[in-house]
Assembly symmetry: C2
Homo-oligomer: 323 residues x 2
Amino acid sequence: MRPIVNIESERTRMNKIAFILLLAAVPTLVSAQHKTLQERLGYTADTKLLIIHADDIGVSYSENSASKEAFKAGLVNSGSVMVPCPWFPEIANYVKSNPRADLGLHLTLTSEWNLYKWGPVAPKEKVPSLVNDKGCFYASVQEVITKGSPKDVETELRAQIERAKQFGVDPTHFDSHMGTLFSSPEFLKVYIALGREYKVPVMLINQITNAYPSAGSLVNENDVIIDRVYIASPDDYKNGMEAFYTKTLQSVAAGVNCLIIHAAYDDNEMKAVTAGFVDYGAAWRQADFNFFTSEACRQLLKDQKIQLITWREIRDKLLRGKG
Amino acid sequence: MRPIVNIESERTRMNKIAFILLLAAVPTLVSAQHKTLQERLGYTADTKLLIIHADDIGVSYSENSASKEAFKAGLVNSGSVMVPCPWFPEIANYVKSNPRADLGLHLTLTSEWNLYKWGPVAPKEKVPSLVNDKGCFYASVQEVITKGSPKDVETELRAQIERAKQFGVDPTHFDSHMGTLFSSPEFLKVYIALGREYKVPVMLINQITNAYPSAGSLVNENDVIIDRVYIASPDDYKNGMEAFYTKTLQSVAAGVNCLIIHAAYDDNEMKAVTAGFVDYGAAWRQADFNFFTSEACRQLLKDQKIQLITWREIRDKLLRGKG
Protein backbone atom coordinates (compact mmCIF):
# COMPACT_ATOMS: atom_id res chain seq x y z
CA MET A 1 0.00 0.00 0.00
CA ARG A 2 0.91 3.64 -0.27
CA PRO A 3 3.67 4.39 2.15
CA ILE A 4 2.33 7.93 2.49
CA VAL A 5 -1.26 8.72 1.87
CA ASN A 6 -3.20 11.74 0.69
CA ILE A 7 -5.73 11.59 3.40
CA GLU A 8 -7.11 15.03 3.95
CA SER A 9 -10.85 14.89 3.64
CA GLU A 10 -12.60 18.21 3.24
CA ARG A 11 -15.40 16.95 5.39
CA THR A 12 -13.20 16.25 8.35
CA ARG A 13 -12.03 19.85 8.84
CA MET A 14 -9.22 18.19 10.74
CA ASN A 15 -6.08 18.85 8.72
CA LYS A 16 -4.82 15.65 10.26
CA ILE A 17 -1.42 15.00 8.75
CA ALA A 18 -2.28 17.70 6.29
CA PHE A 19 1.39 18.13 5.54
CA ILE A 20 1.07 15.09 3.34
CA LEU A 21 -0.84 17.17 0.84
CA LEU A 22 2.19 19.37 0.59
CA LEU A 23 4.53 16.49 0.09
CA ALA A 24 2.60 14.32 -2.28
CA ALA A 25 4.16 15.90 -5.34
CA VAL A 26 7.70 15.55 -4.07
CA PRO A 27 9.37 12.37 -5.32
CA THR A 28 11.12 10.15 -2.81
CA LEU A 29 14.82 10.77 -3.05
CA VAL A 30 17.43 8.16 -2.42
CA SER A 31 19.27 8.82 0.83
CA ALA A 32 22.74 10.25 0.46
CA GLN A 33 23.95 8.06 3.29
CA HIS A 34 26.38 5.34 2.24
CA LYS A 35 24.90 2.74 4.57
CA THR A 36 21.17 2.27 4.84
CA LEU A 37 19.55 2.97 8.17
CA GLN A 38 18.90 -0.69 8.86
CA GLU A 39 22.55 -1.46 8.12
CA ARG A 40 23.64 1.26 10.54
CA LEU A 41 21.43 -0.51 13.09
CA GLY A 42 23.14 -3.84 12.42
CA TYR A 43 20.51 -5.50 10.24
CA THR A 44 20.94 -6.90 6.75
CA ALA A 45 19.79 -4.78 3.83
CA ASP A 46 16.84 -7.05 3.13
CA THR A 47 15.37 -6.91 6.64
CA LYS A 48 11.81 -5.64 6.87
CA LEU A 49 11.77 -3.62 10.08
CA LEU A 50 8.56 -2.09 11.42
CA ILE A 51 7.52 0.15 14.28
CA ILE A 52 3.80 -0.22 15.03
CA HIS A 53 3.13 3.14 16.61
CA ALA A 54 0.15 4.39 18.66
CA ASP A 55 -0.32 8.16 18.32
CA ASP A 56 -2.24 10.58 20.56
CA ILE A 57 -1.57 8.88 23.90
CA GLY A 58 -2.57 11.21 26.75
CA VAL A 59 -5.48 12.75 24.88
CA SER A 60 -8.08 10.80 26.89
CA TYR A 61 -8.37 7.94 29.32
CA SER A 62 -9.86 5.83 26.57
CA GLU A 63 -6.79 6.41 24.39
CA ASN A 64 -4.44 5.67 27.29
CA SER A 65 -6.13 2.48 28.35
CA ALA A 66 -6.52 1.07 24.83
CA SER A 67 -2.91 1.94 23.97
CA LYS A 68 -1.65 0.25 27.14
CA GLU A 69 -3.78 -2.79 26.43
CA ALA A 70 -2.40 -2.91 22.88
CA PHE A 71 1.17 -2.73 24.21
CA LYS A 72 0.34 -5.61 26.51
CA ALA A 73 -0.94 -7.68 23.60
CA GLY A 74 2.56 -7.32 22.13
CA LEU A 75 2.16 -6.10 18.54
CA VAL A 76 1.87 -2.35 19.01
CA ASN A 77 5.36 -1.67 20.32
CA SER A 78 5.71 2.09 20.40
CA GLY A 79 3.72 5.25 20.92
CA SER A 80 3.89 8.96 21.52
CA VAL A 81 2.40 11.12 24.20
CA MET A 82 0.63 14.50 24.05
CA VAL A 83 2.04 16.43 27.00
CA PRO A 84 -0.50 19.31 26.96
CA CYS A 85 -3.49 16.95 27.24
CA PRO A 86 -5.56 16.13 30.34
CA TRP A 87 -4.51 12.50 30.65
CA PHE A 88 -0.76 13.07 30.35
CA PRO A 89 -0.08 12.49 34.10
CA GLU A 90 -1.80 9.12 33.92
CA ILE A 91 0.46 7.86 31.15
CA ALA A 92 3.51 9.37 32.86
CA ASN A 93 2.60 7.25 35.86
CA TYR A 94 2.46 4.15 33.63
CA VAL A 95 6.04 4.85 32.56
CA LYS A 96 7.13 4.58 36.20
CA SER A 97 6.08 0.94 36.32
CA ASN A 98 6.95 0.30 32.66
CA PRO A 99 10.29 2.07 32.24
CA ARG A 100 11.12 0.16 29.06
CA ALA A 101 7.94 1.25 27.28
CA ASP A 102 8.84 2.82 23.94
CA LEU A 103 7.21 6.17 24.47
CA GLY A 104 8.14 9.36 22.70
CA LEU A 105 6.53 12.78 22.57
CA HIS A 106 3.76 13.60 20.14
CA LEU A 107 4.74 17.27 20.03
CA THR A 108 1.47 19.16 19.92
CA LEU A 109 0.54 22.60 18.60
CA THR A 110 -3.12 22.02 17.69
CA SER A 111 -6.33 21.32 19.62
CA GLU A 112 -8.56 19.88 16.95
CA TRP A 113 -11.74 18.63 18.64
CA ASN A 114 -14.84 20.74 19.05
CA LEU A 115 -15.65 20.66 22.77
CA TYR A 116 -12.54 19.16 24.35
CA LYS A 117 -9.68 21.62 24.21
CA TRP A 118 -6.16 22.18 25.49
CA GLY A 119 -3.56 24.87 25.25
CA PRO A 120 0.18 25.34 25.61
CA VAL A 121 2.37 24.06 28.41
CA ALA A 122 4.43 27.26 28.26
CA PRO A 123 2.80 30.35 29.75
CA LYS A 124 0.32 31.68 27.19
CA GLU A 125 1.95 35.10 27.40
CA LYS A 126 5.20 33.58 26.18
CA VAL A 127 3.67 31.89 23.13
CA PRO A 128 1.00 34.38 22.03
CA SER A 129 1.18 33.37 18.37
CA LEU A 130 0.07 29.81 19.20
CA VAL A 131 -3.15 30.49 21.12
CA ASN A 132 -6.61 31.63 20.12
CA ASP A 133 -8.80 34.11 22.01
CA LYS A 134 -9.82 31.35 24.43
CA GLY A 135 -6.25 30.45 25.32
CA CYS A 136 -6.38 27.15 23.41
CA PHE A 137 -4.21 25.97 20.55
CA TYR A 138 -5.70 26.58 17.11
CA ALA A 139 -7.77 23.74 15.70
CA SER A 140 -6.07 23.44 12.32
CA VAL A 141 -2.52 23.07 11.06
CA GLN A 142 -3.20 25.86 8.61
CA GLU A 143 -3.85 28.36 11.39
CA VAL A 144 -0.65 27.38 13.21
CA ILE A 145 1.41 27.78 10.06
CA THR A 146 -0.16 31.13 9.28
CA LYS A 147 -0.01 32.62 12.76
CA GLY A 148 2.67 30.75 14.72
CA SER A 149 6.17 32.14 15.07
CA PRO A 150 9.12 29.72 15.05
CA LYS A 151 10.34 31.33 18.27
CA ASP A 152 7.05 30.53 20.03
CA VAL A 153 7.08 27.03 18.55
CA GLU A 154 10.52 26.43 20.05
CA THR A 155 9.45 27.85 23.43
CA GLU A 156 6.38 25.62 23.53
CA LEU A 157 8.13 22.44 22.36
CA ARG A 158 10.87 22.95 24.97
CA ALA A 159 8.17 23.38 27.62
CA GLN A 160 6.53 20.09 26.55
CA ILE A 161 9.84 18.22 26.59
CA GLU A 162 10.85 19.62 29.97
CA ARG A 163 7.44 18.85 31.45
CA ALA A 164 7.68 15.27 30.19
CA LYS A 165 11.07 14.92 31.86
CA GLN A 166 9.73 16.48 35.06
CA PHE A 167 7.03 13.78 35.11
CA GLY A 168 9.64 11.04 34.62
CA VAL A 169 9.23 10.45 30.88
CA ASP A 170 12.59 10.10 29.07
CA PRO A 171 11.32 10.21 25.48
CA THR A 172 12.54 7.61 23.01
CA HIS A 173 11.66 9.85 20.04
CA PHE A 174 9.71 12.92 18.96
CA ASP A 175 7.03 13.16 16.33
CA SER A 176 4.45 15.76 15.39
CA HIS A 177 0.72 15.79 16.12
CA MET A 178 -1.17 16.33 12.86
CA GLY A 179 2.16 16.84 11.12
CA THR A 180 2.23 20.53 12.02
CA LEU A 181 6.03 20.56 12.34
CA PHE A 182 6.43 19.13 8.83
CA SER A 183 4.31 21.86 7.30
CA SER A 184 6.77 24.75 7.53
CA PRO A 185 10.54 24.72 6.96
CA GLU A 186 11.06 26.96 9.99
CA PHE A 187 9.09 24.65 12.27
CA LEU A 188 10.92 21.67 10.79
CA LYS A 189 14.27 23.23 11.65
CA VAL A 190 13.20 23.69 15.27
CA TYR A 191 12.01 20.06 15.43
CA ILE A 192 15.24 18.65 13.99
CA ALA A 193 17.40 20.86 16.24
CA LEU A 194 15.50 19.76 19.36
CA GLY A 195 15.99 16.10 18.42
CA ARG A 196 19.74 16.64 18.15
CA GLU A 197 19.89 18.58 21.41
CA TYR A 198 18.00 15.93 23.38
CA LYS A 199 19.69 13.06 21.53
CA VAL A 200 16.46 11.47 20.37
CA PRO A 201 15.46 10.51 16.84
CA VAL A 202 12.68 12.62 15.37
CA MET A 203 10.28 10.95 12.97
CA LEU A 204 11.47 11.96 9.50
CA ILE A 205 11.30 10.59 5.98
CA ASN A 206 13.02 11.94 2.88
CA GLN A 207 9.77 13.34 1.54
CA ILE A 208 9.68 15.66 4.52
CA THR A 209 13.31 16.73 4.64
CA ASN A 210 13.37 17.33 0.87
CA ALA A 211 10.09 19.23 0.77
CA TYR A 212 11.71 22.66 1.11
CA PRO A 213 14.59 22.84 -1.38
CA SER A 214 15.01 26.57 -0.79
CA ALA A 215 15.68 25.92 2.89
CA GLY A 216 18.89 24.08 2.00
CA SER A 217 19.96 20.81 3.50
CA LEU A 218 18.15 20.30 6.78
CA VAL A 219 19.75 17.02 7.80
CA ASN A 220 23.17 15.47 8.00
CA GLU A 221 24.49 11.93 7.94
CA ASN A 222 24.06 11.50 11.68
CA ASP A 223 20.35 12.21 11.60
CA VAL A 224 17.90 9.34 11.52
CA ILE A 225 15.63 9.21 8.48
CA ILE A 226 13.35 6.23 8.29
CA ASP A 227 12.26 4.75 5.00
CA ARG A 228 8.47 4.80 5.01
CA VAL A 229 5.48 5.87 7.06
CA TYR A 230 2.13 4.09 6.62
CA ILE A 231 -1.17 5.46 7.86
CA ALA A 232 -4.81 4.77 7.02
CA SER A 233 -6.77 7.42 5.14
CA PRO A 234 -10.49 8.21 5.44
CA ASP A 235 -11.03 6.18 2.25
CA ASP A 236 -9.19 3.23 3.76
CA TYR A 237 -11.41 3.50 6.83
CA LYS A 238 -14.52 3.53 4.66
CA ASN A 239 -13.32 0.45 2.81
CA GLY A 240 -12.54 -1.41 6.01
CA MET A 241 -9.50 -1.25 8.24
CA GLU A 242 -8.81 -4.99 8.24
CA ALA A 243 -8.46 -4.99 4.46
CA PHE A 244 -6.23 -1.92 4.51
CA TYR A 245 -3.91 -3.11 7.25
CA THR A 246 -3.68 -6.59 5.75
CA LYS A 247 -2.59 -5.17 2.39
CA THR A 248 -0.24 -2.73 4.10
CA LEU A 249 1.54 -5.45 6.07
CA GLN A 250 1.76 -7.57 2.93
CA SER A 251 3.46 -4.68 1.15
CA VAL A 252 5.99 -3.63 3.80
CA ALA A 253 9.37 -3.37 2.07
CA ALA A 254 12.90 -3.80 3.41
CA GLY A 255 14.05 -0.87 5.51
CA VAL A 256 12.91 0.91 8.64
CA ASN A 257 9.16 1.48 8.43
CA CYS A 258 6.63 3.06 10.76
CA LEU A 259 2.94 2.25 10.76
CA ILE A 260 0.92 4.87 12.59
CA ILE A 261 -2.30 3.92 14.32
CA HIS A 262 -4.61 5.48 16.93
CA ALA A 263 -5.80 3.08 19.62
CA ALA A 264 -8.81 3.95 21.74
CA TYR A 265 -12.12 2.41 22.66
CA ASP A 266 -15.38 3.37 21.01
CA ASP A 267 -16.77 4.33 24.42
CA ASN A 268 -18.73 7.30 25.77
CA GLU A 269 -15.65 9.34 26.62
CA MET A 270 -13.97 8.88 23.24
CA LYS A 271 -17.22 9.45 21.37
CA ALA A 272 -17.57 12.73 23.25
CA VAL A 273 -13.93 13.75 22.61
CA THR A 274 -14.35 13.18 18.87
CA ALA A 275 -17.99 14.31 18.64
CA GLY A 276 -18.81 15.65 15.20
CA PHE A 277 -15.98 13.78 13.47
CA VAL A 278 -15.97 10.44 11.68
CA ASP A 279 -12.34 10.49 10.53
CA TYR A 280 -10.01 9.66 13.40
CA GLY A 281 -13.11 9.25 15.54
CA ALA A 282 -13.85 6.75 18.30
CA ALA A 283 -14.98 3.91 16.00
CA TRP A 284 -11.89 4.37 13.82
CA ARG A 285 -9.65 4.05 16.86
CA GLN A 286 -11.53 0.98 18.07
CA ALA A 287 -10.98 -0.59 14.63
CA ASP A 288 -7.25 0.13 14.92
CA PHE A 289 -7.19 -1.40 18.38
CA ASN A 290 -9.08 -4.47 17.21
CA PHE A 291 -6.79 -5.21 14.29
CA PHE A 292 -3.52 -4.64 16.12
CA THR A 293 -4.47 -6.88 19.01
CA SER A 294 -5.72 -9.65 16.72
CA GLU A 295 -4.32 -13.08 16.04
CA ALA A 296 -4.66 -12.34 12.31
CA CYS A 297 -2.23 -9.44 12.64
CA ARG A 298 0.22 -11.54 14.63
CA GLN A 299 0.14 -14.24 11.97
CA LEU A 300 0.60 -11.72 9.15
CA LEU A 301 3.70 -10.24 10.75
CA LYS A 302 5.09 -13.76 11.05
CA ASP A 303 4.17 -14.78 7.50
CA GLN A 304 5.62 -11.59 6.05
CA LYS A 305 8.83 -11.98 8.07
CA ILE A 306 8.37 -8.48 9.49
CA GLN A 307 10.63 -7.77 12.42
CA LEU A 308 9.46 -5.23 15.00
CA ILE A 309 11.88 -2.53 16.04
CA THR A 310 11.48 0.30 18.55
CA TRP A 311 12.48 3.94 18.55
CA ARG A 312 14.35 3.14 21.77
CA GLU A 313 16.62 0.72 19.91
CA ILE A 314 17.24 3.34 17.20
CA ARG A 315 17.88 6.05 19.78
CA ASP A 316 20.20 4.01 21.93
CA LYS A 317 22.23 2.47 19.09
CA LEU A 318 22.64 5.55 16.92
CA LEU A 319 22.34 8.57 19.18
CA ARG A 320 23.41 7.43 22.61
CA GLY A 321 26.24 5.08 21.74
CA LYS A 322 24.70 2.02 23.31
CA GLY A 323 24.92 0.01 20.11
CA MET B 1 -30.51 14.24 59.15
CA ARG B 2 -27.60 16.47 59.96
CA PRO B 3 -27.87 19.61 57.92
CA ILE B 4 -24.09 19.84 57.97
CA VAL B 5 -21.94 16.82 58.36
CA ASN B 6 -18.53 16.10 59.78
CA ILE B 7 -17.39 14.07 56.91
CA GLU B 8 -13.64 14.25 56.73
CA SER B 9 -12.28 10.75 56.75
CA GLU B 10 -8.56 10.41 57.42
CA ARG B 11 -8.39 7.64 54.88
CA THR B 12 -9.66 9.71 52.04
CA ARG B 13 -6.86 12.29 52.15
CA MET B 14 -9.32 14.44 50.28
CA ASN B 15 -10.20 17.30 52.60
CA LYS B 16 -13.48 17.35 50.71
CA ILE B 17 -15.57 20.01 52.42
CA ALA B 18 -12.95 20.00 55.14
CA PHE B 19 -14.15 23.39 56.26
CA ILE B 20 -16.94 21.61 58.02
CA LEU B 21 -14.47 20.40 60.64
CA LEU B 22 -13.78 23.99 61.41
CA LEU B 23 -17.40 24.87 61.75
CA ALA B 24 -18.76 21.97 63.69
CA ALA B 25 -18.32 23.66 67.03
CA VAL B 26 -19.95 26.91 65.96
CA PRO B 27 -23.61 27.04 66.91
CA THR B 28 -26.12 28.04 64.30
CA LEU B 29 -27.11 31.61 64.93
CA VAL B 30 -30.49 33.01 64.21
CA SER B 31 -30.36 35.36 61.27
CA ALA B 32 -30.56 39.02 62.15
CA GLN B 33 -32.74 39.63 59.16
CA HIS B 34 -36.30 40.56 59.98
CA LYS B 35 -37.83 38.53 57.20
CA THR B 36 -36.68 35.00 56.54
CA LEU B 37 -35.11 34.26 53.19
CA GLN B 38 -38.10 32.30 51.97
CA GLU B 39 -40.35 35.20 52.94
CA ARG B 40 -38.13 37.61 51.00
CA LEU B 41 -38.62 35.22 48.06
CA GLY B 42 -42.41 35.37 48.46
CA TYR B 43 -43.03 32.02 50.14
CA THR B 44 -44.78 31.41 53.44
CA ALA B 45 -42.61 30.82 56.50
CA ASP B 46 -43.53 27.14 56.64
CA THR B 47 -42.52 26.33 53.05
CA LYS B 48 -39.88 23.63 52.68
CA LEU B 49 -37.76 24.83 49.78
CA LEU B 50 -34.94 22.70 48.38
CA ILE B 51 -32.23 23.03 45.75
CA ILE B 52 -30.98 19.59 44.65
CA HIS B 53 -27.52 20.52 43.47
CA ALA B 54 -24.99 18.58 41.37
CA ASP B 55 -21.41 19.60 42.16
CA ASP B 56 -18.25 19.13 40.09
CA ILE B 57 -19.78 19.50 36.62
CA GLY B 58 -17.01 19.89 34.04
CA VAL B 59 -14.57 17.62 35.83
CA SER B 60 -15.09 14.74 33.38
CA TYR B 61 -17.36 13.67 30.58
CA SER B 62 -18.91 11.11 32.90
CA GLU B 63 -19.84 13.85 35.39
CA ASN B 64 -21.22 16.07 32.61
CA SER B 65 -23.34 13.40 31.00
CA ALA B 66 -24.76 12.02 34.27
CA SER B 67 -25.51 15.53 35.53
CA LYS B 68 -27.30 16.44 32.30
CA GLU B 69 -29.24 13.18 32.42
CA ALA B 70 -30.22 13.92 36.02
CA PHE B 71 -31.41 17.42 35.03
CA LYS B 72 -33.48 15.82 32.31
CA ALA B 73 -35.08 13.46 34.82
CA GLY B 74 -36.32 16.59 36.59
CA LEU B 75 -35.36 16.24 40.27
CA VAL B 76 -31.80 17.52 40.28
CA ASN B 77 -32.50 21.14 39.38
CA SER B 78 -29.21 22.95 39.82
CA GLY B 79 -25.47 22.46 39.55
CA SER B 80 -22.13 24.18 39.47
CA VAL B 81 -19.33 24.03 36.97
CA MET B 82 -15.56 23.76 37.42
CA VAL B 83 -14.13 26.19 34.87
CA PRO B 84 -10.47 25.02 35.07
CA CYS B 85 -11.35 21.41 34.23
CA PRO B 86 -11.00 19.61 30.88
CA TRP B 87 -14.70 19.17 30.19
CA PHE B 88 -15.75 22.75 30.88
CA PRO B 89 -16.22 23.64 27.16
CA GLU B 90 -18.59 20.70 26.74
CA ILE B 91 -20.91 21.90 29.50
CA ALA B 92 -20.63 25.50 28.29
CA ASN B 93 -21.92 24.22 24.95
CA TYR B 94 -24.87 22.57 26.77
CA VAL B 95 -25.80 25.96 28.19
CA LYS B 96 -26.18 27.34 24.66
CA SER B 97 -29.04 24.94 23.96
CA ASN B 98 -30.30 24.99 27.58
CA PRO B 99 -30.08 28.67 28.52
CA ARG B 100 -32.44 28.22 31.48
CA ALA B 101 -30.30 25.54 33.11
CA ASP B 102 -29.53 26.54 36.68
CA LEU B 103 -25.75 26.47 36.47
CA GLY B 104 -23.40 28.34 38.72
CA LEU B 105 -19.65 28.23 39.15
CA HIS B 106 -17.98 25.72 41.43
CA LEU B 107 -15.05 28.06 42.10
CA THR B 108 -12.02 25.82 42.19
CA LEU B 109 -8.62 26.16 43.85
CA THR B 110 -7.73 22.49 44.36
CA SER B 111 -6.90 19.56 42.09
CA GLU B 112 -7.51 16.60 44.35
CA TRP B 113 -7.21 13.44 42.25
CA ASN B 114 -3.97 11.53 41.85
CA LEU B 115 -3.40 11.25 38.10
CA TYR B 116 -5.89 13.69 36.61
CA LYS B 117 -4.86 17.24 37.31
CA TRP B 118 -5.68 20.81 36.42
CA GLY B 119 -4.32 24.23 37.23
CA PRO B 120 -5.39 27.85 37.26
CA VAL B 121 -7.21 29.71 34.52
CA ALA B 122 -5.17 32.83 35.28
CA PRO B 123 -1.55 32.79 34.07
CA LYS B 124 0.45 30.72 36.57
CA GLU B 125 2.89 33.58 36.96
CA LYS B 126 0.09 35.78 38.25
CA VAL B 127 -1.10 33.30 40.90
CA PRO B 128 2.18 31.72 42.08
CA SER B 129 0.87 30.99 45.58
CA LEU B 130 -1.84 28.68 44.19
CA VAL B 131 0.26 26.27 42.11
CA ASN B 132 2.63 23.45 42.96
CA ASP B 133 5.95 22.70 41.24
CA LYS B 134 4.07 21.02 38.39
CA GLY B 135 1.87 24.02 37.70
CA CYS B 136 -1.24 22.33 39.12
CA PHE B 137 -3.46 23.46 41.97
CA TYR B 138 -2.59 21.89 45.32
CA ALA B 139 -4.43 18.68 46.15
CA SER B 140 -5.71 19.66 49.59
CA VAL B 141 -7.59 22.57 51.08
CA GLN B 142 -4.99 22.75 53.84
CA GLU B 143 -2.22 23.52 51.35
CA VAL B 144 -4.26 26.27 49.70
CA ILE B 145 -5.03 27.88 53.05
CA THR B 146 -1.39 27.67 54.13
CA LYS B 147 0.20 28.88 50.89
CA GLY B 148 -2.42 30.83 48.95
CA SER B 149 -2.57 34.62 49.10
CA PRO B 150 -5.99 36.31 49.05
CA LYS B 151 -4.73 38.50 46.19
CA ASP B 152 -3.96 35.42 44.06
CA VAL B 153 -7.28 33.87 45.06
CA GLU B 154 -9.10 36.95 43.80
CA THR B 155 -7.09 36.99 40.57
CA GLU B 156 -7.85 33.34 39.89
CA LEU B 157 -11.55 33.51 40.77
CA ARG B 158 -11.99 36.53 38.52
CA ALA B 159 -10.27 34.61 35.71
CA GLN B 160 -12.67 31.66 36.20
CA ILE B 161 -15.72 33.94 36.20
CA GLU B 162 -14.58 35.85 33.12
CA ARG B 163 -13.75 32.64 31.26
CA ALA B 164 -17.20 31.26 32.06
CA LYS B 165 -18.77 34.42 30.65
CA GLN B 166 -16.53 34.25 27.58
CA PHE B 167 -17.88 30.74 26.95
CA GLY B 168 -21.46 31.95 27.29
CA VAL B 169 -22.16 30.87 30.88
CA ASP B 170 -24.01 33.53 32.90
CA PRO B 171 -23.70 31.93 36.35
CA THR B 172 -26.76 31.69 38.55
CA HIS B 173 -24.62 31.39 41.71
CA PHE B 174 -21.14 30.70 43.02
CA ASP B 175 -20.04 28.00 45.42
CA SER B 176 -16.71 26.57 46.47
CA HIS B 177 -15.09 23.31 45.41
CA MET B 178 -14.09 21.35 48.53
CA GLY B 179 -15.15 24.35 50.61
CA THR B 180 -11.76 26.01 50.22
CA LEU B 181 -13.25 29.49 50.22
CA PHE B 182 -15.01 28.82 53.53
CA SER B 183 -11.79 27.80 55.22
CA SER B 184 -10.16 31.20 55.59
CA PRO B 185 -11.77 34.54 56.49
CA GLU B 186 -9.70 36.31 53.85
CA PHE B 187 -10.81 33.90 51.11
CA LEU B 188 -14.39 34.18 52.33
CA LYS B 189 -14.27 37.96 51.99
CA VAL B 190 -13.11 37.65 48.37
CA TYR B 191 -15.89 35.15 47.64
CA ILE B 192 -18.62 37.34 49.15
CA ALA B 193 -17.31 40.46 47.40
CA LEU B 194 -17.27 38.73 44.00
CA GLY B 195 -20.85 37.57 44.50
CA ARG B 196 -21.93 41.16 45.17
CA GLU B 197 -19.95 42.50 42.22
CA TYR B 198 -21.42 40.01 39.75
CA LYS B 199 -24.89 40.13 41.36
CA VAL B 200 -25.09 36.41 42.00
CA PRO B 201 -25.86 34.68 45.29
CA VAL B 202 -22.92 32.80 46.77
CA MET B 203 -23.66 29.63 48.71
CA LEU B 204 -23.52 30.66 52.37
CA ILE B 205 -24.99 29.49 55.65
CA ASN B 206 -24.74 31.18 59.04
CA GLN B 207 -22.25 28.60 60.27
CA ILE B 208 -19.85 29.82 57.62
CA THR B 209 -20.36 33.56 57.96
CA ASN B 210 -20.15 33.34 61.75
CA ALA B 211 -17.08 31.11 61.83
CA TYR B 212 -14.62 33.98 62.08
CA PRO B 213 -15.84 36.35 64.82
CA SER B 214 -12.59 38.30 64.75
CA ALA B 215 -13.16 39.13 61.09
CA GLY B 216 -16.21 41.16 62.03
CA SER B 217 -19.49 41.06 60.21
CA LEU B 218 -18.93 39.67 56.74
CA VAL B 219 -22.47 39.94 55.45
CA ASN B 220 -25.27 42.47 55.34
CA GLU B 221 -29.01 42.25 55.04
CA ASN B 222 -28.91 42.20 51.25
CA ASP B 223 -26.76 39.10 51.12
CA VAL B 224 -28.36 35.73 50.60
CA ILE B 225 -27.81 33.22 53.37
CA ILE B 226 -29.60 29.94 52.96
CA ASP B 227 -30.79 27.94 55.92
CA ARG B 228 -29.19 24.52 55.59
CA VAL B 229 -26.82 22.48 53.45
CA TYR B 230 -27.10 18.70 53.38
CA ILE B 231 -24.39 16.39 52.04
CA ALA B 232 -23.61 12.69 52.47
CA SER B 233 -20.56 11.72 54.51
CA PRO B 234 -18.30 8.69 53.99
CA ASP B 235 -20.17 6.99 56.83
CA ASP B 236 -23.48 7.69 55.11
CA TYR B 237 -22.07 6.17 51.93
CA LYS B 238 -20.96 3.06 53.82
CA ASN B 239 -24.39 2.70 55.35
CA GLY B 240 -26.14 3.09 52.02
CA MET B 241 -27.05 6.21 50.10
CA GLU B 242 -30.72 5.37 49.67
CA ALA B 243 -31.19 5.19 53.43
CA PHE B 244 -29.31 8.44 53.96
CA TYR B 245 -31.12 10.43 51.30
CA THR B 246 -34.50 9.06 52.35
CA LYS B 247 -33.93 10.19 55.94
CA THR B 248 -32.52 13.51 54.74
CA LEU B 249 -35.55 14.30 52.61
CA GLN B 250 -37.84 13.23 55.46
CA SER B 251 -36.08 15.69 57.76
CA VAL B 252 -35.93 18.75 55.49
CA ALA B 253 -37.21 21.70 57.51
CA ALA B 254 -38.94 24.91 56.42
CA GLY B 255 -36.58 27.40 54.85
CA VAL B 256 -34.23 27.47 51.89
CA ASN B 257 -32.20 24.29 51.85
CA CYS B 258 -29.54 22.91 49.54
CA LEU B 259 -28.76 19.24 49.11
CA ILE B 260 -25.39 18.69 47.48
CA ILE B 261 -24.78 15.59 45.37
CA HIS B 262 -22.20 14.47 42.80
CA ALA B 263 -23.68 12.79 39.75
CA ALA B 264 -21.45 10.67 37.50
CA TYR B 265 -21.42 7.17 36.10
CA ASP B 266 -19.35 4.37 37.59
CA ASP B 267 -17.62 3.95 34.22
CA ASN B 268 -14.00 3.56 33.12
CA GLU B 269 -13.34 7.26 32.81
CA MET B 270 -14.74 8.15 36.23
CA LYS B 271 -13.04 5.18 37.88
CA ALA B 272 -9.76 6.42 36.42
CA VAL B 273 -10.39 10.04 37.50
CA THR B 274 -11.05 8.95 41.08
CA ALA B 275 -8.56 6.05 41.15
CA GLY B 276 -7.29 5.38 44.66
CA PHE B 277 -10.29 7.00 46.35
CA VAL B 278 -13.48 5.44 47.69
CA ASP B 279 -15.03 8.60 49.12
CA TYR B 280 -16.50 10.77 46.37
CA GLY B 281 -15.41 8.04 43.95
CA ALA B 282 -17.14 6.76 40.84
CA ALA B 283 -19.45 4.30 42.63
CA TRP B 284 -20.49 7.01 45.12
CA ARG B 285 -21.44 9.31 42.25
CA GLN B 286 -23.36 6.55 40.49
CA ALA B 287 -25.30 5.96 43.73
CA ASP B 288 -26.14 9.68 43.87
CA PHE B 289 -27.27 9.59 40.24
CA ASN B 290 -29.38 6.49 40.84
CA PHE B 291 -31.24 7.90 43.82
CA PHE B 292 -31.90 11.33 42.36
CA THR B 293 -33.30 9.95 39.14
CA SER B 294 -35.52 7.42 40.94
CA GLU B 295 -39.26 7.25 41.30
CA ALA B 296 -38.76 6.73 45.05
CA CYS B 297 -37.08 10.13 45.31
CA ARG B 298 -39.83 11.80 43.27
CA GLN B 299 -42.47 10.29 45.55
CA LEU B 300 -40.61 11.33 48.69
CA LEU B 301 -40.41 14.95 47.58
CA LYS B 302 -44.15 14.85 46.96
CA ASP B 303 -44.97 13.14 50.23
CA GLN B 304 -42.81 15.55 52.20
CA LYS B 305 -44.31 18.57 50.42
CA ILE B 306 -40.85 19.73 49.45
CA GLN B 307 -40.86 22.45 46.83
CA LEU B 308 -37.87 22.73 44.51
CA ILE B 309 -36.30 26.14 44.04
CA THR B 310 -33.35 27.23 41.89
CA TRP B 311 -30.46 29.58 42.47
CA ARG B 312 -31.68 31.39 39.34
CA GLU B 313 -34.96 32.24 41.07
CA ILE B 314 -33.07 33.50 44.11
CA ARG B 315 -30.64 35.50 41.98
CA ASP B 316 -33.26 37.07 39.79
CA LYS B 317 -35.72 37.93 42.57
CA LEU B 318 -33.30 39.23 45.16
CA LEU B 319 -30.22 40.46 43.30
CA ARG B 320 -31.40 41.44 39.86
CA GLY B 321 -34.75 42.97 40.69
CA LYS B 322 -36.77 40.55 38.61
CA GLY B 323 -38.92 39.52 41.54
